[in-house]
């Protein structure tokens, strides 16, 4: 059969092929173009045939790229590696996926190149738009201060942002898609990222189990966990319908710190209120007693006078005067105590050595009388009010002398050391000591452990005053109940005063 000419078939195919087909000669000149090509590029035949191939490329760069790709022999089957920007006669451009087939003669010489260009503008635009949207989303996720990640149903990491990497701490550098939630948790735990589940703590397995439980079956309630560097994070895990798990990590450290500060303040306030209650009760008791005695003795004098009992009158009068004096002392002590009232204004670097030397000078005659041996170790410097610290040391050393043992030669030791950000001052004696049961009560106002004021005189304000001075320096004072030779007081003061009060 010759009526079915192959040439005719090929010609028909060429004429009706929907995509532009262009044939170049070895000199890259357009030798033939099908109607689709002419139509696509908008040229009449004579303005197209005979033109160099450069004509259809949008610019020199695109053409150079095409030449380079041809020389390199890129895979033209893939749109991504063989798509160029083409230009129509009217100047408009479109993206075209170019596939070429060379025509080779018997000697292997290239005679011509058949090129088919498929318009992929719509596709390219879609891909580009998708890429843009994805980039935008990534940028937004990375800009988020909250840690965000998605795990698939097999608990493998799919998506995550920069904050999430930071939050994972020591596991951060290992974060990549595919790592499982449990692996991340384990790496962070082993590297001490969780203060509540440190590697040497016996609690960590339970803590980890709890965290994994909350990841696997989240109860949709956010939880707050402590992280390294004193950070607090709100952890929220959300299961999605498709089986993925979305995890959110929000740094709530500031909030948590504020909450803790508030709680501390509340406790402090409660403590102060209780102290105030105790203070008023004691003060009223200690002021009422001498008042009552004054009233009693004056009445007794009256009665004794009527009975002509002269000797009794003198005794009662003496008691009356004593009661009045006692009341004066109580009021003076109170004023003393009230004046400290956190009125510290004269902050300076204070050498505790100087303070102790001053104190020994002031208490000198008293100490000689009692035949006290002082053992004073070198003392550190501290930031504080020199006048108040002098009174503190005077009180403690004075007490050590006052409560000496009747049958022992009194020894008073003062020592101190700097420990980190704190300074410790220790005053100890070999005196009568203090019952450990009263280790706390002795610091309350007007608490006396000894009835007989003639042996151990005083109103019972000394240690309360000492405590108040120490507290005004943000420090603490305690009785070392483990020390049995006598009494040992340990004062802890911050080396530097915090500016915020």
């Amino acid at each position: 059969m010759t009526t079915f000419g192959e040439e005719l078939v090929f010609k028909a195919l060429y004429e009706t092929f929907p995509d532009p087909v262009i044939i170049l000669d070895a000199g890259r000149v357009i030798r033939s173009a099908n109607p689709a090509a002419l139509d696509k590029f908008g040229y009449p035949v004579d303005a197209f045939i005979g033109q160099p191939a450069r004509l259809i490329y949008a610019d020199d760069h695109e053409y150079a790229r095409r030449l380079h790709n041809r020389a390199a022999g890129v895979d033209e089957r893939i749109a991504r590696t063989s798509t160029y920007s083409y230009i129509r006669r009217d100047g408009s451009t479109f993206s075209g996926h170019l596939r070429t087939t060379p025509l080779i003669d018997a000697d292997g010489k290239e005679l011509a190149l058949i090129g088919i260009i498929r318009d992929v503008s719509d596709l390219a635009r879609a891909v580009q738009e998708k890429q843009q949207a994805s980039d935008m989303l990534d940028a937004a996720l990375d800009a988020m201060p909250e840690g965000f990640a998605i795990f698939d149903a097999q608990e493998r990491l799919l998506v995550y942002n920069r904050a999430y990497v930071t939050i994972c701490g020591p596991a951060g550098p290992l974060i990549r898609p595919g790592i499982t939630a449990e692996e991340i948790l384990q790496i962070a735990q082993e590297n001490s990222h969780y203060p509540d589940a440190l590697p040497d703590s016996p609690d960590w397995p339970a803590w980890m189990a709890h965290r994994m439980q909350d990841f696997r079956q989240p109860d949709n309630r956010a939880k707050i966990y402590r992280y390294a560097d004193d950070r607090w994070l709100r952890v929220e895990n959300i299961k999605t319908k498709d089986g993925n798990t979305v995890v959110l990590r929000v740094d709530v450290t500031e909030l948590k710190r504020a909450e803790l500060a508030l709680e501390r303040q509340r406790q402090e306030l409660q403590h102060k209120n209780e102290a105030l209650d105790q203070f008023t009760a004691t003060v009223s008791h200690d002021l009422k007693a001498p008042l009552r005695h004054i009233s009693m003795f004056s009445e007794m004098i009256e009665e004794e006078l009527a009975a002509g009992n002269q000797e009794e009158v003198a005794a009662s009068a003496r008691h009356l005067r004593e009661s009045a004096r006692r009341m004066t002392r109580v009021i003076d002590s109170l004023l003393d105590y009230a004046q400290i009232a956190y009125q510290i204004t004269a902050w300076s670097e204070v050498d505790l050595d100087d303070i102790v030397a001053d104190t020994l000078g002031v208490l000198g005659s008293h100490a000689r009388e009692a035949d006290v041996t002082f053992e004073i170790a070198p003392l550190p410097k501290v930031h504080g009010d020199p006048e108040l610290l002098r009174r503190l040391v005077q009180n403690l050393v004075g007490n050590a002398i006052k409560y000496r043992h009747p049958h022992r030669r009194p020894i008073v030791r003062v020592s101190g050391r700097a420990a980190g950000q704190q300074v410790e001052l220790v005053v100890e004696d070999n005196g009568i000591g203090i019952d450990p049961r009263f280790a706390l009560r002795i610091f309350e106002v007007f608490q006396r452990l000894h009835q007989d004021e003639s042996i151990y005189g005083g109103t019972g304000i000394g240690l309360a005053l000492a405590k108040r001075i120490v507290e005004s320096h943000n420090g603490s004072i305690r009785l070392d109940t483990g020390f049995t030779e006598g009494a040992r007081f340990v004062v802890t003061l911050p080396k530097r005063m915090r500016k915020t009060r």
Binding site: T282, S284, A289, R292, M296, E299
Partner: protein, 142 residues
């Protein structure tokens, strides 16, 4: 049968107050045997060794306070039913409640006049000495 003298333990750290109350009580009933101690620890020791029919107790004392002593008296089998009268300077209602809760039989504020002490002593003798049945149901006056 002769009336055996009743023994009263006064626990009071303030020597003046102790003297006032002792004086008023002896003037009201000279058969009363009043023992004064100034420290709660001393009271515990005395009560272990001796018999007392009544205890007069101050709350606010150095060392162990009256409230603590009262709890000890009540938790000790030998002294659990001894009448304890709290005599203190505090008129704070919470101290009154705490005293009764700890097992006080009566509560009185320290008087500030001679007549006040006289009234307290008379009330004490009339109510407690004349009316108390010793444990076991034996009559006081035979």
């Amino acid at each position: 049968m002769a009336k055996s003298p009743k023994r009263l333990l006064v626990v009071e750290d303030d020597v003046h107050d102790a003297r006032f109350v002792t004086r008023a009580l002896s003037r009201t009933d000279d058969t009363l045997d009043v023992v004064h101690v100034i420290h709660a620890d001393e009271a515990v020791l005395r009560m272990q060794r001796e018999h007392f029919d009544y205890v007069l107790l101050d709350i606010k004392m150095p060392g162990i306070d009256g409230m603590e002593l009262l709890r000890r008296i009540r938790s000790n089998e030998g002294t659990a039913v001894v009448p304890v009268i709290v005599l203190t300077s505090s008129t704070n209602p919470s101290d009154v409640v705490r005293s009764y809760k700890a097992g006080a039989n009566a509560y009185a504020a320290k008087p500030s006049s001679l007549s006040g002490y006289r009234q307290f002593a008379e009330a004490f003798v009339r109510f407690w000495i004349d009316n108390t049945l010793p444990p076991g149901g034996a009559m006081l006056h035979q």
